[in-house]
Amino acid sequence: VAVARALSHLRVARVYLWAGLVYLAIGGGLALLIRWQWAYPGKPVPLFGGLLFPYTQGAITPDSYQALFTMHGLVMIFFAVTPILIGALSHWLVPAMIGARGLAYPRAAWVGVVFLLAAQAVALASFFVELGTARSGWTLYPPLSTIAPGHGQTLVVAALGLASISTVIGAVNVLVTVIRRRAPGMTWGRLPLTVWGLFFTAVLNAAFTPVLIATALLLLSDRLLGTEVFLAGALAQRGGGDPFAFQHLFWIFGHPEVYILILPVWGVVSDFVAFFTRRAAFWYRGTVGSMLAVTLLAGLVYGHHIFTTGIAPMLGAVFETLTLAISIPSTILFGNWLMTLWQGRVRLTVPMLYVTGVLLVFAAGGLTGLYLGAVATDIVLHDTLFVVGHFHLTMAAATFLGIFAALHHWAPKLLGCRLGDRLGAWHAVLTLLGLFLVFGGLIVAGLQGQHRRLYDPFVASVEHLANRSANRHTSFSAFGLATVQLLFVLNLIHSLLTRRVAVENPWQVGTLEWKEPDLEQQVMRGPHEFLSGDDEKSAGKDYLDQGEACPQKSAPDAK
């Protein structure tokens, strides 16, 4: 029993969750330093400046600035959002929602945890070695990443490799669990859409994250063994290889990565819009099919990241067509959410508030992507803050709001206590506002021509490419957004300290994770079936449990 308990998938999930939350705070802190620099270039950072940059009395130098934006991206993607959204949610929710006793490989799950914690520790250590951490940008393009001095860059690339191993282990575990461990009656058509989202994410992770591991190894070999796989030009001493090959390899992984991060959110949103309108999700098959279509397209569109490298015009046209094609399944997905909402009266619970936010930021993030999917408009916007604003709306804003929705919803199980609704509601509304101000500010700055990754965007030039006061406004919005996160921290701490007891099944939904695990579990129906009228009166509740025997009168077709 002790072993079973120690191996419990819920514990695995909790470690991922807390490890991710800590690094979410670190990644956010790095973002604030970038924003400070854009508001007041070269001015000492208030409060912590002297501590962080002691040799310059708190001012950020061009060199440390590179480290800030490099590590902000890497920390957020690999050490914060991935552990929370994929590590925590899939390790616990997948087995719980499909009525499995646990993960297919409980011990492997702990190996995955160890790899993630090791990766996080190595990444953190990189800040403290001589010459500091990585500074090549999160995309790690060689030769810049090859010649970056010191051990920091090496440690960070190694940390990415370790984190990726953790991800692949988790992905295989999830795939096998979903395929082999579903409770009797839990057909593919009865899986909660959250499970579908996490499943497709696992498919992409199992397929594409190994590419990153291999690429990281090649880069390490260039740095440590003096091979020249990704070197050319004056730096190649022994013939060299091809830096452009790295761009292909990186984006073969890098583009699916954005779908890896958004698919779990799509799944959660698809379930929640059904839960909180008390209606079955509109066109379940269409939603699953759209997610499948995006999963299949995910690996075929990476070329839009290298439109400006002079790839053959024919290739550009093909990647452009495939990229734009993704908007069709995305539209169907989004349309299905709206149609689900249309069917019923929305209960504006805190998770539903967050989900409304996801819909808004995802609409903005998805549609701004069209500009970058077409080669012609990409030439104008490539490498400007428009790109940064676009991918933050999807990869940051949508994932954050999705994470908060999931945490608030499943806190009774995941954390063992209920989160406060009042603080939660304020946090949801103010966070959404902040996200739009900050990332909308990036979009506008990008349209004005402000480039990304500039230590001082206001260097004198013929054109007016960056607006000082607009940057300052966006920075202060970011500081506000960060401050608002204290509401969540406060809510979390307060709930944990008071052990605010959770009611059984607080949201009154039928998915299996709310029930005590039952080995005799027989699944009878889909994830969101609701009752109304006389059925509701006779049952004394308006939902049907997925494992519950049929009520006397057959449930109305909840279409």
Binding site: I328, G335, V346
Partner: protein
Amino acid sequence: MSEHGALLDALLVRAHWLIGGVLALAFLATLWLTLGRRLPRPRHPGRWGVLVMAAIVLFAVDATLAVGSRQALGVLARDVEADPTALRLEINARRWSWDVRYPGRDGRFATPADASPDDIVLTNELVVPAGAPVLLQIAAMDVVHAFNIPALRIQVEAIPGHLGHSWFRALAPGEHTLLCAQHCGPAHYRMRGLVRVLAPEEFAVWQAKQQRLAELAFDPDDADARWGWPWRAR
């Protein structure tokens, strides 16, 4: 502005209207369906119809972007090698400056193997005539850079080991910023140059003067000055 840039901008404006419109609709629909609980709803929503219409609208937006993209890029795909007024330039990007080489009277670029004594070489300055096609051959010496003149809507990555090609036709005289659009190290933000588009006759005067200066300054022993590559048509 450049010839293809005008088309890109027109497409961008079209995209703003279309995408902005769709975004506004998505926002209104989301807010109405979640918050506007007391607003009247159509009794028979015809939900499938709405869904199909949304997909059609998105397809129309995609098609507009794709067609507009082809049109604008058609200009860049045009073969201007044979144009007698074309100006050929070689760009060498290195941390943190731009070297620009003009082939000079003999029309040849100096390469490590072959000194051409009349090449004009500028640093962080690009002088081109208005109205004539300017063909670019772009290389990087150390790390990846990106040759970007935002005002002329031209952006090409400079990758060590590769030669990038592109061309543009500036429509009117003026001064623009040349900048590096790919992170290349701490001083990336300062890797900038000045683009001067001159009226053709003004350019001819400038070029003749630079030509004389370049011939005077030619040093056969300066191997560093011969970083050019043989011209490669696309």
